[in-house]
């Protein structure tokens, strides 16, 4: 047996870091004005705030403008293939549980080609954080519609308007049984930081949809909701334990009732609890924006505790070792019924 193997590095004592430390030496290659910049900024700031050592971080992505993210983080990073980041991340976290693993993905990468892996990541509840950059378009391939594009959108591949119904990432994640689901906005740094912090602290898959502006191919696609002048009236922030109130003057509230959510006076608003056994209230909220006159919920839709796959896997290994003793090659090979030839 080889015992001359170089050991893995043992627990390090990291120096405290500032935001800049998380910037890699690579030139950022996004278009000027792209919403991706502010997401990168928020993540770097958050990690500095939380003081996560760089070497314990791993960013995994697929392909797309958004998926270039790992190159710009001075951490471990894997820019993989289109749509498959969840599969890589699942293994990385399971094989190396001490890492904090983040996925950067786009609406095309994560919900078109990668929809299946996203489903299985969410249901398995791998302890990774997902940043879904939703710009309702394929950026890197120069402007085709995506699964989140609104029906009717005219793009290069839908010159007469898309006939696809859009998928709602939040509802999809709920349907997949995700344990943490949130939504935030590229231009709303404060909100993004708060949501990302909650995501970072969640144990299990934290799924965060980020409204992200593609200045080149779908500029302003969220403006009706997120434009600064209307944002407070057009969004409602889901803050655990807080009433669902919104509006510039916090003059409106949301009441969830009989499997419907409706706009009410602030005093009547439901106090938000994303950790109920049932995800139904979150589901109701996820549908709300489609009702005329209702705000778009942002913030934390869902946050529950549930066993994670990566931990489950490792526990089984420990249990097997505890029960059968650490596997010995000799025993393995020399198992079964044998006979001798002299």
């Amino acid at each position: 047996m080889p015992d001359d193997i170089v050991p893995t590095t043992t627990a390090p004592k990291p120096a405290p870091l500032d935001k800049k430390a998380y910037k890699s030496d690579q030139e950022v290659r996004w278009c000027p004005g792209c919403g991706d910049y502010s997401i990168l900024n928020a993540v770097q700031q958050l990690l500095a705030q939380l003081g996560v050592p760089r070497h314990q971080l791993c960013f995994v992505s697929g392909i797309g403008c958004s998926s270039r993210f790992p190159y710009y983080m001075n951490t471990y990073g894997l820019h993989s293939i289109h749509g498959r980041a969840p599969a890589f991340a699942t293994a990385i976290k399971t094989a190396n549980p001490e890492l904090q693993v983040w996925i950067a993905t786009g609406d095309g990468d994560g919900l078109s080609i990668g929809g299946n892996h996203m489903l299985h990541l969410l249901r398995r509840n791998i302890d990774v954080k997902v940043l879904l950059f939703n710009n309702q378009i394929y950026g890197l391939t120069k402007g085709q519609y995506s699964p989140t594009s609104p029906p009717g959108l005219k793009t290069k591949t839908s010159p007469m308007g898309s006939v696809d119904r859009a998928v709602d990432p939040i509802r999809f994640a709920l349907g997949c049984g995700a344990t943490f689901i949130a939504r935030t906005i590229d231009t709303h740094q404060k909100h993004m930081l708060a949501v990302l912090e909650a995501a970072a602290k969640h144990k299990g898959t934290a799924f965060v949809e980020i409204f992200q502006n593609c200045v080149i191919f779908n500029d302003g696609c969220f403006d009706e909701v997120i434009e600064r002048s209307v944002r407070d009236d057009k969004t409602v922030d889901l803050i655990p334990g807080k009433p669902l109130v919104y509006g510039k003057q916090l003059d409106k509230g949301i009441k969830i009732d009989a499997a419907e959510a409706r706009v009410v006076a602030p005093a009547e608003a439901t106090s938000w609890d994303p950790s109920t056994r049932s995800a139904a209230a979150a589901f109701v909220l996820s549908e709300m924006a489609e009702q005329p006159g209702s705000p778009t919920p942002i913030g934390i839709f869902r946050s529950i505790q549930s066993p994670t796959f990566d931990e489950g896997m490792n526990k089984q290994v420990q249990a097997a070792v505890a029960k059968r003793g650490p596997g010995k090659l000799q025993d393995l090979i020399w198992s079964g019924d044998k006979w001798d030839v002299k």
Binding site: P86, A95, N116, H117
Partner: protein
């Protein structure tokens, strides 16, 4: 340890081929395995060949529903499960109809007449009863109403009539034990363990087994019994019987241990590769992390993720699954991480013949990815060789930081043979080295093997990014530079070719020069060896050579090929290795001998081919 004191003469013979055939619900695979087990413990050399339909329980009594298990056991060193059975056990008309054409002329056919009613004949789509229409005149037919015998034997049992009938296979097995003078003990023991929770089942099956055995004695079905002595010509050592998938799984565990790594296997079930995932899922005490992924793409990506994280990434599949993994394999080539991709080949194209064997994924393995995406490919020759090949695949993957495709096939995967157990000291370790030194770290620097450094994420100070965009030499930064691209394309290919420096030139068996070199790869190994022996018996000396490393090809082949007028390459495909060989050795003369029937080559076929080539 002959158990019976039968009066009948005991005739010594060197080798016997038995085929058990019945419905997929008749337990033929178990019957065959038990006979195999007993023969192995007795010390015979042996080879097995199970053959079953793609359905779980194909309709009872129909020809497509027939499941077969062939075993050859011998006192000499044998290499195949035999061209033609000496004995056919046919549990119903369909089994008889499907298999009779393979039986040796004059061979014994044991027929369960209890299943030969009109409706049985109809299910098998037979218009006349072969037991009556003289179509079996060339064989020695033994008719037994096994249905009835079992009912009699189990009279008084608490089992339902249906359950009673399920014991038929052990009656048959008992009869065969009697005929070949075998010890029933191992099977009696196995039954006791297998049905430990159902004592009635243990009793019934044991009774049926004994009844079958006794029937031989009492009912004067046969004129004599046979004895196949122990095989003493195998190299000395401790042996066990092993199936290909089993050996391969153990080899992966051994390979990982020899590298000082833990396995991460990401896999998706597919026939005939599923047992590899299943075995590894049972080796958790070795630290194996086994993930049943949502599909083959996730499986290979997870395996790569495992390697990225510092485990030995493994994924196992069969042909269609390999096609799905190719994009991911391309990434593993680009980011240069170890990875073992096991491909247990089956009949195709598309879903094809999922439970049959074929060797037609060779070109897909070597060339089936976008762009110049080179990797080493190695192939198992026999069930037990799968252990060594799995270890070798791990070695190459780790030493060269490269994905490796390991080819097996349905014939090897499900077949079995005695395996001389290696001593741990015989296994050479190849410890993986994880880079930890921060100084002068360059992610795409290379060592003498042209391998780049492997860094476990979590290592302080070595944070870096990898990905599928072309990488600059040394720094690993994204580079669209023309010269760098060409340099890297050549470098990756050169690294794969470098594997040749660590592998031996395969040995030629037989004349060092001459008319014909029989060249094989994969599971044609046994048939080719058998053919060489049979030819030698007929006074025709040909050479043979077997390739374990099918890409890159070992050093020294050209000189060898030059010494033969013809290099004859039998393959269970339309000549794929021949294409590879012609690409590499344009001056040499390769003749392809293709067979694509979902079945291995028979020794006779090869012998005939060589003779026709030699004009004899």
């Amino acid at each position: 340890m002959p158990q019976s004191t039968s009066e009948l003469p005991l005739q010594l013979i060197d080798s016997v081929v038995i085929r058990f055939a019945g419905d997929s619900g008749d337990g033929m695979q178990i019957t065959g395995s038990q006979f195999t087990h007993t023969a192995a413990l007795f010390g015979n050399d042996l080879a097995t060949f199970p053959d079953f339909p793609a359905e779980i329980r194909a309709p009872a009594g129909t020809q497509p529903g027939v499941s077969g298990f062939q075993i050859r056991f011998a006192s000499s060193d044998i290499h195949t499960p035999g061209d033609a059975p000496d004995v056919l056990v046919a549990m119903n008309p369909a089994a008889l109809a499907v298999n009779i054409k393979d039986l040796k002329p004059g061979g014994i056919v044991i027929v369960n007449t209890g299943q030969f009613g009109d409706s049985d004949l109809a299910k098998a789509r037979l218009t006349s009863n072969p037991l009556k229409d003289h179509s079996l005149d060339a064989y020695r037919v033994i008719e037994i109403d096994i249905n009835k015998r079992v009912i009699e034997a189990l009279a008084g049992s608490t089992l339902s009539p249906k359950e009673v009938q399920r014991c038929k296979n052990f009656y048959t097995l008992g009869l065969m034990y009697w005929l070949y003078n075998r010890d029933m003990e191992p099977t009696l023991k196995w039954l006791a363990e297998k049905f430990a929770k159902e004592p009635a089942m243990v009793e019934a099956n044991q009774k049926a087994l004994r009844a079958g055995f006794n029937a031989g004695d009492i009912q004067e079905l046969f004129q004599g019994r046979f004895e196949v002595p122990k095989c003493d010509v195998l190299p000395p050592g401790t042996y066990r019987n092993i199936m290909g998938n089993q050996a391969l799984s153990m080899g992966l565990v051994a390979g990982a241990e020899l590298a000082g790594l833990k396995i991460f296997i990401g896999s998706y079930p597919i026939t005939p590769a599923s047992p590899i995932l299943e075995s590894l899922a049972g080796y958790k005490q070795f630290g194996v992390l086994s993930m049943q992924a949502e599909d083959e793409i996730a499986a290979v990506c997870a395996a790569i993720g495992g390697s990225y994280a510092g485990h030995l990434g493994v994924t196992s599949t069969s042909g269609p699954g390999l096609a799905l993994k190719q994009e991911g394999i391309g990434l593993a080539i680009a980011i240069e991480l170890p990875l073992v991709i096991v491909n247990v080949q089956r009949g195709g194209p598309s879903t094809g013949l999922p439970t049959k064997t074929e060797q037609a994924d060779l070109l897909q393995a070597i060339f089936g990815r976008n762009s110049e995406a080179w990797l080493p490919v190695i192939a198992c020759a026999t069930p037990s060789d799968s252990f060594d090949c799995a270890v070798e695949a791990c070695r190459i993957a780790v030493q060269y930081m490269t994905p490796v495709i390991l080819l097996s096939d349905g014939y090897i995967a499900n077949g079995s043979e005695p395996w001389r157990l290696p001593k741990l000291e015989e296994l050479k370790s190849f410890p993986a080295r994880f880079r930890t030194e921060v100084e002068n770290f360059l992610p795409y620097d290379r060592n003498a093997d042209l391998a780049r450094p492997w860094v476990k994420p979590g290592t302080v100070g070595l944070e870096h990014r990898v990905g599928g965009l072309e990488k600059a030499h040394l720094t690993g930064h994204i580079s669209y530079d023309a010269e760098n691209h060409e340099f890297m394309v050549n470098m990756r290919a050169a690294k794969v070719m470098k594997v040749r420096d660590s592998i031996p030139t395969p040995k030629v068996e037989g004349p060092a020069r001459g008319e014909v070199l029989l060249l094989g790869w994969g599971s044609t190994y046994g048939s080719i060896w058998g053919a060489q022996e049979m030819l030698a018996e007929q006074g025709i000396e040909v050479a043979r050579m077997h390739l374990r490393h099918v890409w890159p090809l070992p050093h020294g082949l050209d000189e060898i090929f030059a010494r033969y007028k013809t290099v004859l390459v039998p393959e269970m495909n339309l000549g794929q290795l021949v294409r590879v060989l012609r690409g590499e050795f344009p001056q040499r003369n390769f003749v392809s001998y293709p067979k694509v029937q979902g079945l291995p080559f028979r020794v006779h076929e090869l012998v005939a081919k060589v003779k026709s080539l030699l004009g004899r």
